[in-house]
Symmetry: C2
Subunit: 299 residues, 2 copies
């Protein structure tokens, strides 16, 4: 079914304890689209600069991603640099060059406006709201956010929360947004702000989904060699939303299976730099690891 | 059926961010026995001092714990003091008074020597080996340990590892013992030291069991109000071993269900100081939370 993602297309400079890359393909919408496109066609809305390489758009199109919502502007593409410490949990942002992203206002192609499944990747809440307003036929919308918007744009974020079905948060973001250390209580406080579901990502410790009528928790897939955690959260969202859009329903069993698919796509993501690993995995490998994860977590 | 535990009976002084207790009933064997006795009779081997209150032995006996293996010596009981920080993960030991524990050599009553299921709680590896040698009919033995023995008594610990079926480790201990940060790789390295199974406890992040022929991972039960984490690991082991001894087999499904039972007993434990919460839970409440956890973790 129609799955739309609003997010960034970027180049990343990444340092890990073992290696480094400059100008690696990145951005939330890129990671999301690569993961989700294993499940269903994806419509991508975002902005790139004159430096964005055509081959990277072709890579996305080759996976069934409709890039007609990608605007090319004068200036450079969004460029981020970061470093991971040996525990993989400590990430230092070395620089953030917003570039073309600075004045981005999403304009969906007419053909995208009937999208039913929508993922609003991490962006200024006002920009996420602008995109949302262009999807009158939306059925299930999930948004991502980050500490900066929680601290600086809370009223806008709360408006967004009242209009989406789900919000994706990591543990730190959930604690900040709720003002509560215990993650279960934090998630329940966020639910009270409007969304029907909170998806709480705990990295190597797994994830849980909580809602008034739902609670599902699962450990991460046991990856024994992490190469680069960048994009894992967006790949999780991509697997989750891709599986839901493919099933075209949000029944409890679909949501639970989607959490497993998200866990699987995230696990491939961290095994390589940029999208290198996840982009070469076909549906068969996704299904194989899905079954392995099911085996590991079923009594 | 016959389940034996070797471990400590102690008094604990505990400070949390919200409250404090002095001379609270504690000790690994006490926590283990309280949790395990919900499932089957428990034989307890340990040492107490003249100060150990009779009502605390009666409490254990009232739960079906055979305390005939508890030796009373001159001197004071093992006494430990610790403080938890607001994140619950940082624990500072304020004092450790070994007292009667210092020269303890376990001597099992004759009636205990046919024990088939054995848990060797955290102790000097040589003492654990002494107890093990007195159980010729053992069928399934699991041991616990701690960083001190890993650092100072590694050859003895390795001898123990070659003789037990399972070892219980928290994440920090597994990393130290294996010299490896990644927990999956660390667990596999520990498997190569002899035990058939490694049980890796990650506190609020759940636990996993790994073996040559087994891999099962589950999140923690979502406790929304932690009061005192002391003894959670021993209650986990108690629920795990109790469920296995009650089933009287170590088939994969039994081990997996036992992991859930351990998770449940640990979750009750942290809801109160000392054994206050877990000691008042009957089998019906254990089963209710078991089913709830199953519901939360099943696709």
């Amino acid at each position: 079914m129609s799955l739309l993602v609003l997010g960034t297309l970027a180049y990343d400079d990444i340092e890990t304890p073992f290696d480094r890359r400059t100008r690696a393909l990145g951005g939330s919408a890129v990671y999301f689209a690569v993961a989700a496109s294993t499940f269903c066609p994806v419509r991508l809305c975002g902005i790139i600069g004159k430096d964005f390489e055509e081959r990277h758009l072709e890579l996305l199109r080759g996976r069934g991603v409709d890039t007609s919502g990608v605007e090319r502007a004068a200036g450079d593409s969004f460029h981020w640099g970061g470093r991971y410490e040996a525990d993989w949990n400590t990430r230092t942002t070395l620089f953030t060059r917003l570039n073309v992203l600075e004045n981005f206002h999403p304009k969906l192609p007419a053909a995208f406006c009937d999208s039913r499944y929508v993922f609003l990747a991490n962006a200024e809440p006002k920009v996420q709201l602008e995109a949302l307003a262009q999807c009158p036929q939306r059925k299930f919308v999930v948004a991502d956010t980050m500490n900066f918007w929680i601290e600086q744009f809370l009223p806008d974020l709360k408006q967004l929360l009242s209009k989406v079905d789900g919000i994706v948060l990591n543990d730190e973001e959930a604690r900040m947004l709720a003002g509560e250390r215990n993650l279960i209580r934090a998630a329940r406080k966020v639910l009270a702000m409007g969304p029907r579901y909170v998806l709480l990502k705990k990295g190597e410790h797994g994830a849980f989904l909580i809602g008034e009528d739902a609670h599902f928790s699962l450990p991460a897939y046991p990856v024994d060699q992490v190469v680069d955690p960048t994009g894992a959260g967006d790949c999780f969202a991509g697997g989750f939303m891709g599986a839901i859009a493919a099933a075209d329903n949000i029944e409890p069993r679909t949501l639970r299976r989607a959490m497993l698919y998200g866990t699987v796509t995230a696990s491939f993501c961290v095994q390589g730099f940029s999208i290198e690993d996840i982009a070469r995995r076909g549906r068969a490998e996704i299904e194989q690891r899905f079954n392995e994860l099911l085996q590991i977590t079923t009594v």
